[in-house]
Amino acid sequence: MKNKGLGIKGRRLIAYTVLILISFFCLFWFYILFINASRSHSELTKGFTLIPSTHLLDNWVNVMNGTLPIVRGMLNSLIIAGSSAVLCTYFSAMTAYAIHAYNFKLRNFMFTFILIIMMIPTQVNAQGFLQLVDKMNLDNSFVPLIIPAIAAPVTFFYLKQYMESSLPLSLIEAARIDGSGEFKTFNKIVLPLMKPAIAVQAIFSFVGNWNNYFTPALILHDNEKKTLPILIAQLRGADFLKFDMGQVYMMIAFSIFPVIIIYLVLSKHIVQGVALGSVKG
């Protein structure tokens, strides 16, 4: 009588095996990356081993002295992703607050409008965007990569949902009675209350901009201004640097491992944030 199919223990065993296998497939690539970043070019030509070699530091020094300014690239990426995240969350919170707390004529129209545009990918207006950037003389500048973050429908939507569940309008009313100005209420009372949601969205916005390749590649031309993804993609093109695969692996490692470490530190918030977004979304 196998009414329950496999026993709990059996099912648990299968689950663990599959999970471990999957985890292996998620992490294995990064392990190879680490191994290869520690090997010299001639070692790499001889095939693969599972044991790291001793050239980690050499490769690091070579990359630092190389022609591609990847430290600069990382800095550029940090500047763009960081300021985008700040602008994006602050102004999305402001937009969400406008829709949430005030009862004005165009309120429903605006809300519907933002929901409709939420899913339109930025690529479809890239052509006009490029032309605009050219006209405004903002080509090769960070401005067109940062400012548009202010209008972020997805972040807006998430924060709006969050406000609905955890920002009672009576609180705002109370603030008004205390004589707080609207702007002050938003900055001093609403924002602190929104902290958890803002933190999650800041992380997502940061990751999104950090990884963005399409738009920056069309706008940034100087090596000094390029972001990390562009520089990494350049490795695929013709370059003398490629004669040292040790350096190539080191550069990829340089762009991946810091992110992994930061992710591990923040992982609790990130994973929760994804789940939260889905329930609401």
Binding site: G5, T95, N103, M110, V259, Y263, V274, G281
Partner: protein, 301 residues
């Protein structure tokens, strides 16, 4: 919530707080969108140092695009590669989500596993692609491992084969997104009333029966949501095939996605064609997002 009187004078602040969003949206999204559409009716490109156009050509650009087999081929590529990634991804995610949310299994180390499966999602797609390109190249580590294990006689040329390249792209898409999907589905499953499960168990239903008869139907809305958002994401597929094939979409352009095609036009400053292609993409995603919109609104109610 309609309090008249004192509150009304505050409501102008709603407009004030909307200014930044509206201004930025108009400048950086709406105007570019309008100029994109406008340009799609012109022949307008730069060849080296000479500018051709703009000459008004009506719907010629659309005719050329829709009439050429390339656009359909690239749309087909995009859809196919997306599908190759989506089907295994959703199955895997359903399985994992079912396990994670199954109270009778009581899996330990859930946080660890969730952290690990979500990890590839935060990695820069271009860096991950570059990594996979080197790993799967003819003399790369994957080939040398397979050789050393004696599984193959001579190196596999992954990037010289249509299905090899498509497969790697699809695999990377799975890797990057199945963690995300799992967590989404799991959140959906957690939302299902546990009493339903208990009642089913009392009635002697098998776990598989519970899954297909109770969980799945209740998950339908969130599955549909995942499907459409993934499809919209799929249309935008760019970084991975771009870096893997160095922009060429080879072999035989079987990995050229529509956004890569658009990128080619943008790069050669062919504003007319680029505009027309953008408008087509806009219409496609517009329809899809309307569906998502209607779903979200329904949920609101």
């Amino acid at each position: 919530m309609k309090k008249k009187g004192r509150v009304v004078r505050y409501n102008k602040w709603g407009y004030i707080f909307l200014i930044p969003f509206v201004v930025v949206y108009i400048i950086f999204n709406l105007i570019p969108l309008v100029t994109t559409i406008y340009n799609s009716f012109f022949e307008c490109y730069r060849s080296g140092l000479t500018q051709v156009g703009p000459n008004y050509v009506g719907l010629d650009n659309y005719e050329t695009l829709l009439g050429s087999k390339e656009l359909w081929q690239y749309l087909g590529n995009t859809f196919l590669i997306w599908l190759m990634g989506f089907v295994p991804q959703i199955l895997l995610s359903l399985l994992l989500a079912a396990w994670f949310s199954d109270p009778s299994l009581r899996l330990k180390g859930q946080r660890f596993f969730k952290t690990v499966i979500y990890l590839p999602n935060v990695i820069m797609a271009s860096a991950l692609s570059m990594l996979f390109f080197t790993l799967f190249s003819e003399g790369g580590p994957v080939n040398s491992m397979l050789l050393q294990m004696g599984l193959i006689e001579e190196p596999v040329k992954f990037f010289a084969s249509v299905w090899g390249t498509r497969g790697i792209i699809a695999f990377m898409n799975i890797l990057m997104w199945f963690g995300n999907t799992t967590i989404l589905l799991m959140a959906g499953m957690m939302g299902i009333d546990t009493e339903l499960f208990e009642a089913a168990q009392v009635d002697g239903a098998k776990p598989s029966q519970i899954f297909f008869k109770i969980t799945m139907p209740l998950l339908k809305p969130i599955l549909l949501y995942t499907l459409i958002t993934s499809l919209i994401g799929g249309i935008q597929m760019f970084d991975v095939p771009q870096v893997l094939s160095n922009g060429s979409g080879n072999p035989i352009r079987s990995c050229m996605t529509v956004i890569m095609y658009l990128n080619k036009h943008l790069y050669s400053k062919n504003y007319g064609m680029g505009g027309a292609l953008s408008v087509i993409l806009f219409v496609v995603t517009g329809i899809l997002s309307l569906i998502v919109f209607r779903m979200t609104v329904k949920k609101e109610k």
